[in-house]
Symmetry: C2
Subunit: 117 residues, 2 copies
């Protein structure tokens, strides 16, 4: 698909459950993706509710993450790091990782991935 | 450079002036870049102060933008669109664009670009 200008508010993008095994109370909105002609990488917004988490997993592509709201921690290669609004995170390929919300409100973050060619 | 785990708060990343011609009161922080081993794309944060703007320009790579704070408008191919917190924007390659802050507080946004290979 050819690349076209797109402007959208995140609330106008459908929120879908993260269905991977061992995810819990986690949701995703595909804000900018291949469907919109993104040439190289996609922007998703994740929402992890209190007591929720993304699955502990790894894959051969990176994540670039920006925390928008809420609090929790990220586990990466078995180490834990506190996260809150304003943190940027690079998770390299093939590193096991998970994001956990241990706070009392929604943990909202952007997570961008490259196009798998 | 090999890709390594990175976690940083944006306030701990140096804010540098945008020096391109016709930019005004605009600043950039390179949160995740090639220097940190990003394999495919970089995450920058821009801060445009009231009455500031990024230059009207085009280039042969895309932008993926997320508005974090503040208000203003984006001009893209001669058309103007209001922007505020929560908007995601895909600017395709080779499209003339500029972002203008006509509000009364800092306009803060993420702008991601692909690695030029």
């Amino acid at each position: 698909m050819s690349s076209e200008f797109r402007i959208v508010h995140y609330l106008d993008v459908k929120r879908e459950p993260v269905t991977e095994q061992n995810s819990r109370n986690a949701w995703v909105r595909w804000l900018i993706s291949w469907e919109h002609g993104a040439p190289n990488f996609a922007m998703r917004m994740f929402e992890v509710e209190p007591n929720g988490n993304t699955p502990l997993h790894s894959h051969n592509w990176e994540h670039e993450i920006f925390i928008l709201e809420g609090e929790g921690f990220i586990v990466c290669s078995g180490r834990s790091h506190r996260i809150k609004e304003g943190y940027a995170i690079l998770i390299p390929p093939n590193i096991e990782h998970s994001i956990i919300n241990d706070g009392d409100k929604t943990l909202r973050f952007l997570c961008l991935i490259p196009k798998i060619k």
